[in-house]
């Protein structure tokens, strides 16, 4: 049973009613087919109403859905011969970030992504997808390795943010993130980043200095979580819903600001409703993106990446 979210409650209730009625008619000697038909029409209308008018806060809920496909799900569905590579060679292996080499439609690729857990046990192991410095340093090691072997890089972004802990500070969380931004700027291979869930602040950006940035329809990308923004701006984390609206964190918002290149559509109700189809939709965009970037030479890749980020910002000259 897929966990339902508060905003889709009416749809779920109506659907339950309809199936109840259907059960009833199959056992009893009454014909309710016209009534059922009516209810089904209403359900369809309700579904379009709710899912096509999703508010930013609804999208936040979908982006955080426990069953939402993660980096490893996309790797399994889209790539072959995946071999996971571990460790930063400096301190340890951070399981909040996974990375490795695989084949994507015959093209060798380096894949790196934040990795949340499916259940509490896995979440503890993966620190809820919140990396320590060694996670970012592993990511950088794999990117440099990809550059050496001229492999394109695909990054999946899905984190609440870099972990705010004592050990993380001691080992240089700031430096690890900063170094990734700096080094990604100079990579001589195509880099594609896709925000698949939550894109939380610097911890997300550290995998995001890419030639193309794509975003799933219900993913979010923000400087701070809606809860964090609400508590800083209005001293009340309960106002997160308003903050989500005010902060402009949804895919259409980021597309409008010129940060995101393409929005990858999701199944009705969110990617978790049909992960297989979601992978197909993702694969199409990745292939198109890759074809485009593989036409560029090394200098063009670095220069266009430079121009992309140089142009982000709003001010009066």
């Amino acid at each position: 049973m897929v966990k339902t979210l508060p905003f889709e409650e009416p749809v779920i209730q109506l659907r339950a009613k309809i199936s109840e009625l259907k059960d009833f008619t199959s056992n009893a000697e009454v014909d309710l087919s016209t009534e059922i038909q009516q209810l089904e029409d209403r359900l369809q209308k309700l579904e379009t109403d709710i899912y096509e008018n999703m508010q930013p806060w609804d999208r936040v809920q979908v982006a955080r859905h426990p069953e939402r496909p993660t980096t490893l799900d996309y790797i399994r569905d889209l790539f072959t011969d995946f071999i996971e590579l571990h460790g930063d060679r400096l301190y340890g292996d951070d399981e909040a970030i996974v990375g490795g080499i695989a084949s994507f439609n015959g093209q060798p690729i380096t894949i790196i992504g934040h990795q949340r857990g499916r259940d509490t046990k896995e979440n503890i192991r993966r620190n809820f997808g919140m990396p320590h410095p060694e996670g970012y340093r592993k990511a950088l090691r794999l990117m440099k390795q990809a550059e050496k072997f001229k492999r394109p890089i695909i990054c999946f972004i899905d984190t609440k943010g870099a972990y705010p802990g004592k050990a993380a500070e001691e080992r240089g969380q700031s430096e690890a993130i900063a170094r990734n931004l700096f080094e990604m700027a100079g990579l001589k291979v195509p880099v594609i980043s896709v925000v698949i869930g939550e894109g939380g602040s610097g911890g997300a950006l550290a995998l995001g200095v890419a030639n193309h940035i794509h975003m799933l329809e219900n993913a979010t990308y923000s400087v701070i979580s809606p809860e964090g923004a609400a508590s800083i701006l209005w001293k009340d984390a309960a106002l997160a819903q308003q903050a989500a609206e005010a902060m402009k964190i949804t895919a259409p918002d980021l597309k409008e600001m010129g940060i995101v290149d393409e929005i990858i559509p999701e199944s009705t109700g969110g990617a978790h409703r049909d992960p297989k189809r979601q992978a197909v939709l993702m694969g199409e965009v990745l292939q198109r993106s890759l074809d485009e970037l593989l036409k560029l030479n090394e200098d063009q890749l670095v220069d266009t990446r430079y121009e992309k980020f140089k142009s982000i910002g709003e001010f009066i000259e």
Partner: protein
């Protein structure tokens, strides 16, 4: 008698009432009390001491213009991009007014002052952040000014030097402020690829998105004593790890101990230290080359 105990108090007919005039005898700002050691000294003396407490070496926050006066050769500084104007991309209520009032207070168009100048006769491009302007937070204009300053340093082939002082990203500009971390970093990468020197001087406070981008990217990272430097806020960390953090957590000295800084440098010797570093990186220095 027991009553005498109470009645005796009433016999105090005279009380010393502080003279209101004597209170205002000392004009506002002539003396400054150190927040660390409570030493009270003449503000003029403090200023001539580069805003360092003579009692305990506490480094007071400096405005961007004070840094220019203390760090660069006299009248060599030429400001850049002070015409850029902040907008309100998310339509946050009151944001524009806050920018205007801070701008008036500091005489800056945004939380960073950038420009060209000389340090002991050597040309450099500097960016100096000012924590008196919206806590030095980084929005689009701060990101743009720093990026343009780095590009200017790249164009002129001179070292880029930054004094950081920032609470991090500017919430009111949302994800645009986050992207300034990437923007400044890509500019620094280009400067670095050409073989030019970048010195980052972290001053109190340097946290969040600024510490997680250009502030940490110097070929040489220096810091002022006791400066607060870190990624996440102390309170946030205490809540997540549920333990008391050491007293000196996230200070410059703590970072030095953990291998995150090249050196902690007293403000009095900062100019000479940076000047020497610049000299050691100049092409003319390589006599055997």
């Amino acid at each position: 008698m027991i009553r005498d105990i109470f009645s005796r108090n009433r016999k105090h007919k005279y009380a010393t009432i502080p003279n209101l005039a004597s209170k205002t005898d000392v004009p506002e700002g002539i003396m400054t009390k150190c927040p660390e050691c409570k030493y009270i000294g003449l503000t003029k003396e403090l200023m001539s001491n580069k805003k360092v407490c003579p009692g305990c070496d506490h480094h007071y926050k400096m405005t961007a213009y004070e840094r220019v006066a203390n760090f660069l050769d006299e009248s060599t500084f030429v400001s850049m991009d002070d015409h850029l104007e902040t907008v309100n991309p998310l339509n946050f209520p009151g944001y524009t007014d806050k920018i205007k009032s801070d701008s008036k207070k500091t005489g800056l168009n945004e939380a960073v002052l950038t420009g060209t100048g000389q340090i002991n006769g050597q040309s450099v491009v500097v960016a100096i952040m000012d924590a008196h302007f919206r806590m030095g937070s980084m929005g689009s204009v701060v990101g743009e000014k720093i990026t343009r300053a780095v590009e200017e340093a790249t164009k002129q082939g001179v070292p880029f030097i930054i004094f950081t002082a920032s609470g991090g990203a500017r919430m009111q500009e949302g994800v645009l402020s986050l992207m300034q971390m990437a923007k400044t970093s890509v500019a620094l990468k280009r400067h670095s690829e050409k073989g030019y020197l970048f010195i980052s001087i972290l001053t109190h406070p340097t946290t969040g998105g600024v510490s997680a981008s250009f502030a940490s990217l110097g070929d040489i990272n220096l810091a002022e004593p006791k400066a607060l430097i870190g990624f996440a806020g102390r309170r946030v960390i205490e809540q997540t790890v549920r333990e008391k953090l050491p007293e000196n957590f996230q200070t410059a000295e703590f970072l030095l101990d953990h291998g995150q800084l090249d050196a902690v440098v007293h403000r009095a010797s900062m100019k000479d230290t940076v000047s020497t570093l610049v000299k050691l990186h100049s092409k003319g220095e390589n006599k055997n080359g």
